[in-house]
Symmetry: C2
Subunit: 294 residues, 2 copies
């Protein structure tokens, strides 16, 4: 029972929410038919990455939880008997929205949700306009395949988030993501950014002795405001083992379903030879909660 | 003044302390003559890696600070006008020893020291026998080339250590190291370990937007107790920029002096496009100081 048969689904997304959902439904079904028991989707997979511009009409894309999106994915998870990690635009109250991962268990129930804690804001990623920072902390979600440390995109740059999930007993870290190239950047800069994104997530695996699943979208999406040149999402979805080693890695540009068996037992084995948790200097970490230690 | 002309010195070490010191002196002189203003040595460079076995007579290798070792390196730093990062076995009091990095400024004075905070203990690395855990916290050392976040070896596996140094204003993270292969491990395992070691240190650069300098020893050292097969130190000393990108990387097996210009200004530039410090959820990190959050 230590094996999690895992599928990552890297896709291009279009402007029609229901069509996106239908396409994802087909791919989830394909992954489940191939044996997957845990299926992970990219960030905000039901729509184009609408944060490229600040437009109040985009709040219409949000849905309550539970709501139509969770009804759809719940039905699918239950029918296929899989654990499904989705990433949704949550309408919590009038004028109050979150970037929320919802995890469904094999019976179709909502196993838990995670509201993105770290919210970025930079040109073409105006997320602070749309998403209220999460208020549920870093709490792994118990499912029938294990405790899932679900985080979202910008969280992936924060070792604290990974550590806190691991300290709460996460068996695996999972990052639905939407990240890509700015088209005017040089190839060297594009490569540095993509490699940094891969490197830091592999390092979370190393630091905590847990597998990491990162699923990105791929394909080009234009900026509706025409202020920037749009985003070329860089794909490269991957799974790393608890030593940070690649287990699977998708391409830059293709829609892909990748299947891989993750063995939770390796965490115990790796932590025995790399017992980092034993030696943490918790007596000397208090300043981590400062903004800057000046 | 934002450029630090840096040299890393990767060496093999022998059993004669004074001969090691003389050899290092020649290499430091060579680096300085080539233009280096900051020179970094591997961990415990004055002796064989004596922690392969627990033997009380090895405590004879330790010296007080200041003492003969600091006298030697102080004179050299002052003569050459360089900032020099050394790694010494410190005798603090009878029966009280530390693994201590000592940094000399261009006038030969001791700019500061750092006592290794995280102490490993696993077969062939019996450091808990020799070294009392550091009691000086994570405090960067101010020098004439910048604030140096000096950490030592096992510290490199802890994102907390890197973060705390960065929050205290470190311009660069520096890791003198002694790490190598266990000879009976498979090539696959050796590669995973070496890549994990590189990956997590590059990730500290990414997470904090600072350059990272890591200097390892190379060459084989036998286990005097013959309990293990000894250590093949894996070299691979490197410098990464603040996006985690390689700037220089030494070989597995050769003694090398590598020179590289580190531009401190890039930290400001990179943190402007990757403003991780802005978005840290310091309201939600308190459990980092727990041993395990169960």
């Amino acid at each position: 029972m230590s094996i999690i048969q895992t599928a990552i689904i890297q896709i291009k997304v279009g402007s029609d929410k229901l069509a996106n959902r239908q396409k994802l439904g087909n791919k989830i079904r394909e992954a489940a038919n191939a044996g997957a028991k845990l299926v992970v989707l990219p960030e905000l997979h039901d729509s184009l990455y609408f944060c490229q511009t600040e437009d109040v009409s985009n709040f219409d894309l949000a849905e309550p939880i539970p709501g139509p999106a969770t009804d759809f994915y719940s039905q699918l998870a239950g029918e296929l008997g899989i654990v499904l990690v989705t990433s949704l635009f949550e309408k919590r109250a009038p004028g109050l929205y979150h970037n929320t991962a919802v995890v469904f268990d094999t019976n179709g129930s909502i196993a838990g949700k995670y509201r993105k804690m770290h919210i970025p804001d930079d040109p073409a990623y105006y997320e602070k306009f749309y998403f209220t920072p999460g208020d549920m902390g870093f709490e792994p979600i118990q499912t029938s395949v294990g405790k899932l440390g679900v985080l979202v995109c910008w969280d992936q740059w924060y070792p604290e988030a990974a550590r806190l999930m691991a300290l709460r007993g996460a068996d695996v870290l999972i990052y639905p993501t939407a990240i890509g190239y700015e088209l005017t950047d040089t190839d060297a800069e594009k490569n540095r950014q993509r490699e940094a994104w891969i490197t830091i997530q592999r390092a979370h695996a190393v630091a905590n002795g847990v597998p990491v699943i990162s699923v990105n979208r791929t394909g080009y999406e234009a900026d509706p405001s025409k202020v920037t040149n749009g985003i070329e999402f860089w794909g490269n979805s991957f799974v790393a083992g608890p030593q940070g080693e690649f287990m699977v890695q998708a391409s830059n540009t293709n829609e892909e379903i990748q299947l891989i068996d993750i063995d939770k037992q390796r965490t115990e084995n790796v932590r025995r030879i790399w017992p980092y948790f034993r030696d943490r200097r918790i007596d000397a970490y208090a300043s981590i909660v400062k903004r800057y230690d000046d």
